[in-house]
Amino acid sequence: MIEEIRAHVAEKLQELDGVIGLRRTAEGTAPCLFREGDDLSQLELDPRYPLASVVSLLQKRYPEARFGIAARGCDARALVEMAKREQVDPDRLYLLGVVCTAEEAEECHCTDPAPDPAPWPQAEVIGTPVEGAPPNPIVAAYEGTSLEERRMFWQGQFLKCIKCYGCRNVCPECFCEACALEDKVWVEPGVLVPPFPMFHLIRAMHMSGRCVACRQCELTCPAHIPLTVLYDLIRRDVEDLLGYVPGADITVSPPLSLTLEDAPLRMELE
């Protein structure tokens, strides 16, 4: 499949300003902007990095440029939520979707392992989509526990936190200029362990309607906190209560991102 993807990228580079993907060199594999004439034998698909953030960075720096991206399902979902919040421009993006294998989907407990070309003006998908993997078994086990057991579970997990902010830094949906986790009203600087449970629950609440289950936060956590369990639960609640699935439909507004301009909450001052 990788050869087919490289061939597509080579073809698209003739009309695009560049394609964002992973580049493997002797020093390792990392995100890169491939340009026409670059050695595409270095284009790889593993390990996964938050490529959607690179699209945002480059589109903002070059407001006229048209880029492509070799995107997995989670990258594509992240781009959908970023587009809704004006972090990426779908009209200037060509999405080359790459389907994950069944093994990859299982490793990530990914229920949606194939990119959806539908939201994108220019897109195609390489490979045969596989079935989604079963959800993380920790979530089901968690459901059977009492409130006190749940509190103990998270207390034990959050106690390991070294407050590296890696979960926030790596997240493609964390792009606020001012972060509540850096506001000393909520999080006292220079103090470990971070306040339980607020530190992680502030982030979890801010991820509601945003988290696309890309698992980057969990993969980068030095304390091995099962963050996707927390965000899976948030995602489930957002779907059950608000009928919203982040990353699914680019035309649906995120329920927690509405402005109050037309809402009846505005007070009339006499």
Partner: protein, 143 residues
């Protein structure tokens, strides 16, 4: 229009976690953890995530400074003057030689740094022991 990630090693402690510097048109714009790095395996602490904060800092020292009594006073009250590496190294060599001759090798101590490489730290202790002749060697990351 050039975006690439440059592999390097975190300078903050002896663990030596692997990270990439995100470089856009020659300017560092971010840090990414190196997922294939044998030590850190895609994880960083808060220092690693901010390992580049000093790169463009206005207070960063870019040349050696020599404290001289007649140099103009800085805002912090110190009388430092910018110098070339030749001037600075000549001064240090002369003063170390004088102090050793007058007061003995054990009147001198060496403090090394986690921001240096393993090899640089090796050289510093070698210089202390073999050239100056003292075991007074310590390190800011001797945790």
């Amino acid at each position: 229009m050039e975006y690439q990630n440059i592999a390097t090693t975190c300078i903050y402690c002896g663990a030596g976690c692997g990270l990439y510097l995100e470089v856009l048109d020659g300017e560092i714009v971010g840090v990414l953890p190196a997922k294939e790095h044998p030590v850190s395996q895609g994880r960083l602490c808060i220092k690693g995530w901010n390992a580049t904060s000093f790169v463009y800092h206005p207070d960063r020292l870019k040349t050696p400074l020599i404290r001289r009594g007649d140099a103009p006073s800085t805002s912090s009250g110190h009388r430092f003057e910018e110098a070339t590496w030749d001037e600075a190294l000549t001064l240090v060599a002369e003063r170390l030689g004088t102090v050793k001759a007058e007061s003995g090798a054990n009147s001198i101590a060496f403090l090394s740094s986690a921001k240096c490489t393993n090899e640089e730290n090796y050289l510093l202790q070698k210089f202390a022991r073999a050239v100056i002749g003292t075991n007074n060697v310590d390190h800011c990351a001797r945790l």
